[in-house]
């Protein structure tokens, strides 16, 4: 076996040093009746070449770009990833290292994560960001729990236009805690209705997503003011990080905590994971943040260096009193995001984000021309909802056969939105491809 270096002579000599006769003898402390007598019932080993064939044939059955034209976002976005990012991300010094507990030997990871924290904070208009969480959904759940800790209140209000799967994760996290999750309904224009906030008391936080699940850009400023009037923290969530290359960031509109999904920033979709949970906040909440933080400091010679810091918030020190149980996070995904943000740059990210928006507007316009109804008239970024005729399911299936995925069917998530589809257009879709979609929808 190529990963097991021991020769039989070496095994024999090592067993002698240990003082047992054979490999079985190493397990003398495992009681007889705890031991497995049979072999594991697993498929026999494959050679590297057999594995290649096996995996290639399985992977070949998946519907992916470029063969398929996928006009679906809803929390996972197809964006171009520069070869340089994938290449750099493969460097084994990054890939095969552990959490940087020994800073002198991990300055690469540490500086890179410090830079990531900085770029994320700048993108979202916040002062600080954590080193990463699992995904956008768990980052939201942790943000809400953080608000409960800070305010010592027991209820949170969340918009019904936050990604429905994120809301389910939040509910899972909140179930055993006794804290209550209240939901804010949405208006006919595809925006969160926050008028009911005035009737809610004891709120630790108000959370919305922008652009929201229906693609609409929320009025964060106004919601933030309402939240603050209720002495609640204002949490702004997102699923499409690229939007903030063009849109006004949540920090400048009063958000106290910003959380969401960073997959758009150079991370492959990978059937939903690994992704990148982003969590940023104002500096005053620094000691309540869940998860790891990298900070700048100096070495004995006064040279700049980086360390994991404020570790006393974390489970390995504070145990049951920690701000979170998170240990392993999604560090390499954060690194990918940093590499991506560095590659695109300040000028580039705005141009790229605008291109996303403009392409989506083009498709919207063409669909309108073709007689389809755009469900909500609020401004959107790169996703929007279309109402198709009642028999559209047949068309949708026919399009699938032609390798076009015409958005996400919304009825399973919002039963009142039967015949409504959430469509997404990123920079990966050309005008020709959008024209083709529209013409196939027509017939």
């Amino acid at each position: 076996m190529l990963y097991l270096p021991h020769t039989s002579e070496e095994i024999a000599s090592m067993l002698k040093v240990v003082g047992v006769d054979d490999l079985d003898g190493l397990f003398s402390t495992v009681p007889e009746d705890c031991r497995l007598r049979d072999n594991l019932n697993l498929p026999e080993a494959l050679s590297e070449w057999e594995l290649n064939d096996h995996m290639a044939s399985i992977s070949g059955s998946m519907a992916v770009s470029p063969e398929y034209k996928v006009f679906m976002g809803a929390g996972s976005y197809e964006h171009f990833i520069p070869a340089s990012v994938s290449y750099l991300l493969g460097r084994s010094e990054f890939v095969t290292s552990y959490t940087p507990y020994q800073p002198e030997m991990s300055q690469g990871t540490l500086q890179a994560i410090y830079e990531y924290q900085t770029l994320v904070a700048r993108l979202l208009g916040m002062e600080i960001a954590t080193a990463s969480h699992y995904d956008g959904a768990t980052a939201l759940a942790e943000s809400l729990l953080m608000a409960v800790r800070i305010t010592k209140k027991r209820k949170v209000a969340i918009s019904s236009l936050i990604h429905p799967l994120y809301r389910r994760v939040v509910q899972t996290y909140f179930n055993p805690t006794g804290y209550e999750v209240l939901e804010l309904k949405y208006l006919k224009n595809g925006m969160t209705d926050f008028t009911k906030l005035d009737e809610m008391d004891d709120l630790a936080a108000v959370a919305v997503q922008s652009p929201n699940f229906l693609g609409c850009i929320e009025n964060l400023q106004a919601i933030g003011e309402r939240a603050h009037a209720k002495k609640a923290l204002f949490i702004s969530s997102f699923t499409e990080a690229l939007a903030y290359g063009y849109l006004k960031n949540p920090g400048s509109q009063g958000a106290d905590i910003v959380c969401g999904e960073g997959q758009s920033l150079g991370i492959p979709q990978a059937f939903g994971g690994p992704a990148l949970g982003i969590l940023a906040s104002r500096k005053e909440y620094m000691r309540s943040l869940p998860g790891r933080l990298v900070g700048q400091t100096k070495d004995l010679d006064g040279k700049r260096g980086f360390v994991l810091t404020l570790a006393t918030r974390e489970q390995h020190i504070r145990r049951e009193k920690a701000t979170s149980n998170i240990c392993t996070n999604n560090s390499l995904c954060a690194l990918a995001a940093a590499m991506y943000m560095a590659s695109v740059g300040g000028t580039g990210i705005r141009e790229l984000a605008r291109l996303n928006h403009d392409k989506a507007e083009y498709l919207k316009k063409e669909l309108k021309k073709a007689g389809f109804k755009i469900s909500f008239d609020s401004p959107t970024f790169n996703e929007f909802v279309v109402e198709f005729p009642p028999d559209f399911e047949v068309t949708y299936k026919r399009l699938l056969e032609r390798k076009i995925i015409a958005g996400l069917f919304l009825a399973p998530y919002y039963p009142e939105l039967a015949n409504h589809y959430l469509l997404c257009v990123t920079e990966t879709k050309s005008m020709d491809e959008m024209d083709e979609l529209v013409s196939k929808l027509r017939n």
């Binding site: 000691r287 570790a311 009193k321």
Partner: protein, 134 residues
Amino acid sequence: MKEISELNLPDDIRYAEDHEWARLEGDRIRVGLDDYAQDQLGDIVFVELPQIGDTFEKGKEFATVESVKAVVECYLPVGGEIIAVNTALEESPELVNKSPYNDGWFVDVNPSDPSEMDDLMTNAECLEKLKGAD
């Protein structure tokens, strides 16, 4: 870390089991963390203190002290109302290391029962206990 013989345990103050100290200053009692505790913790990076006006019974948690790799809760050696807190520790938590009995004090307490001081150890008793534990 210091040997027991190197510890500074002044004789004008009293010591609690968890290494808080208490010193009678007029009718108030000043409280802090002793030399042994600051030395064991190492570089102290953050001290979370209560607010003026908070009241605690003797033995209740009133502060937490963080070093780089440890956190300890501190228990009030004498019950009463907090009437002053050492705000200098916000900016300079290292004062607890540098001057545990003077500049690094934590809070002043208006004791509800000053005789609770008598339950605390003298420096000699504290030293004996440390020797025993070693």
